[in-house]
């Protein structure tokens, strides 16, 4: 730290020099170079940058991230680690990365005939060509500085390929576990999902950490190509410890007749920012996007979603809800963009927020940009208190005010959890989220 503080601690230049020192597979070097170039072309986001208006990145500058850490000092036992991400009763296999490094011992042997799961570094000829053909095709590096950086630092990643016309019930869970280290470090995570035509699959992305103060910055980019008439269930669970820094994105291409059901949950962090971009590229596609964000203390969380309707006859249903406690700050920006050809689009966005304290802050901006006339689009955003009538009803049944508040706040989130297709994920998340609402067991005892 003493050594670090003598250097200029500007994150952008650190990240670039880190990128230049990355040693990854040669066949990915083109992507890496492009990413670095694109990153260099970006101005570092400030408050004046529209899409970073409410999220301050200065926290990134205060540390020295210039080094990668080796995977040596992990204080957790395997079973402690598994506690963090395993989802009871979920039919799933895991790929686990600890501080950015693949963990053989924690990861499952994956032997399924309907899906291929492989790290880029281990990919065979055929898989490499799938990766080369797709990686970086959906992300727009010129628009997303952190996806440019992610490409620039690309050393490895994971390919999940759901094979044509096959249904995979087993969920593929990709886990990133970060643990406190003596040195600040960065984790560059990349996931490519290819759902081939007529396939169906489930992907769970879990980001978890140990309890100690976090020293990592995680940049995680996921790309999904969802081909004709295939369906992807996707869960992105960002459950890291509260001072974690996480900047990530999910970029999706939906082809004709395909479906995406994507659910996001984000506990707050020192800085957390996730961009979800869904491109409707084929007629008849459907996107169902849901998310909840729950920052507390002095945390910050920012979800930016952008749905691009480029072709006719597609539908989007998007619901995000947030509860902001203490001095925490949340940002939600939900954009729906209907291109001139996207006639007969149905798109709806709903964002609701609860502020629990007079130091908490929410900034929300639902945006519609519409260039076609025969469409039905609507958005709504509310910031409200708990409903008085419902409160009265609970009181009149003898439930104490504080407990009623907790139950109703939880209900506000639980409504979205109830809609998840995979029940074990509901069961995993409920106690974690319930835990946020009360320091006191007596207030949360009826939640589960």
């Amino acid at each position: 730290m003493t050594e670090a503080s003598t250097q200029t601690l500007d994150y952008a230049s650190q990240a670039l020099s880190l990128a230049q020192s990355v040693e990854g597979p040669e066949w990915l070097s083109g992507l890496r170079k492009d990413g670095q170039q694109s990153f260099e072309g970006h101005a570092w986001p400030t408050r004046k940058t529209e899409h970073w208006k409410y999220t301050n990145l200065s926290a990134l500058n205060k540390q020295n991230y210039a080094q990668l850490v080796a995977n040596d000092s992990v204080a957790l036992t395997d079973s402690e680690a598994q506690q963090l991400y395993l989802i009871a009763d979920l039919d799933a296999v895991q790929l686990v990365f600890v501080n950015g490094h693949f963990s053989e011992t924690l990861s499952s042997e994956i032997d399924l005939d309907s899906v291929e799961v492989v790290r880029f570094s281990q990919a065979d000829e055929d898989q490499r060509s799938v990766i080369s053909d797709n990686l970086g095709q959906i992300t727009l590096n010129e628009e997303h500085i952190f996806s440019a950086l992610n490409a620039g630092q690309l050393d490895d990643g994971v390919l999940i390929r759901f094979l044509k016309n096959k249904k995979t019930e087993t969920a593929i869970q990709v886990v990133h576990l970060t643990t406190a280290q003596s040195q600040s470090f960065s984790v560059n995570a990349r996931l490519l999902v290819v759902s081939e035509a007529g396939s169906q699959g489930v992907v769970v992305e879990s980001f978890v950490s140990d309890d100690a103060s976090q020293t990592a910055i995680v940049n995680s980019i996921t790309e999904c190509r969802i081909d004709d008439n295939s369906k992807l269930f996707h869960y992105r669970l960002q459950l890291e410890q509260e001072d974690a820094i996480h900047i990530g994105g999910m970029h999706v291409q939906l082809n004709a007749g395909s479906q995406l059901e994507s659910f996001h949950v984000g506990l707050g962090g020192k800085v957390k920012r996730v961009d979800v971009v869904v491109n409707h590229e084929g007629s008849g596609a459907h996107c169902d996007l849901k998310g909840v964000y729950l920052p507390k203390n002095s945390q910050h969380i920012d979800y930016h979603t952008c749905i691009e309707h480029k072709v006719p006859h597609c539908t989007t249903s998007e619901v995000f809800r947030g509860i902001i406690a203490n001095q925490a700050k949340a940002v939600f920006n939900g954009r729906i963009h209907i291109h001139p050809d996207a006639q007969k689009t149905l798109a709806e966005l709903n964002n609701r927020n609860l502020l629990l304290s007079n130091k908490a802050e929410i900034n929300t901006k639902p945006e519609l940009e519409i260039y076609a006339d025969d469409v039905r689009c609507a958005h709504g955003a509310t910031i409200a208190q708990l409903d008085d009538n419902a409160m009265n009803y609970m009181l009149s049944r003898g439930i104490g005010r504080q407990e009623a508040e907790v139950m109703m706040s939880f209900g506000f989130i639980n409504e979205l959890l109830n809609g998840l297709a995979h029940h074990p994920i509901q069961e995993k998340l409920r106690p974690i989220l319930a835990d946020l609402f009360g320091k006191d067991d007596s207030l949360t005892r009826h939640l589960l």
Binding site: Y393, M394, S396, M408, G411, H446
Partner: protein, 249 residues
Amino acid sequence: MLSIKNLQAKVEEKDIIKGLNLNIKPGEVHAIMGPNGAGKSTLGNVLSGREGYEVTGGSVEFLGKDLLDFEPEERAREGLFLAFQYPVEIPGVSNLEFLKASVDAVREHRGQDPLDSVSFLKLAREKCKAVNLDQNFLKRGVNEGFSGGEKKRNEIMQMMLLEPSLCILDETDSGLDIDALQVVADGVNSQRSVDRSFIVVTHYQRLLDYIVPDYVHVLANGRIVKSGGKELALELEEKGYSWIDEEVV
């Protein structure tokens, strides 16, 4: 059990209850009838302590205590139960967790141990059955998407679970089909006992064929303007309310 003396209350700066007197002894069933907007629901809300309903005069004694001293949840725990005219929906909060929270709070107040989950579930299922509600309703959000009749039956089920001393049923009969009316009436009758009293607010004599009241009161313009035995309900059914006005004036 309950003694209301010269009660006055206002809502949103508007006087609604204007000097109301009512005495209820243990085990009695009192029916309250009266024109729309008379203040019947307001009375229930005032007694249960709803926020925004301001008592401007009079007193209410409930089981020997000053009811108006208590917070709404304390009144519930003391044994006052209001079955709402329009039960509210609370999405995301499951009926089961809601019921357990409620029953636990009331039991705790009575110095009883909380029920463990298994026995509670058993009990709740039993009560569901008693009001002819499918057990699925326990898993759903509180009143969420329930039909009008289902909401009313859910109210009666809660009443059965909480075993209150005084039950105020605000138009629990409206919106019920004939069979459901029978179910609700049976539910109420099964709860009648020497130490439990009822206030039954209704517009229809029909309910009173099933739940036979000891007294019938007419509430109009914030006061009880006429009281009588169960025959009064029949008279009202026949003649409406206008003759009372004349009589009072």
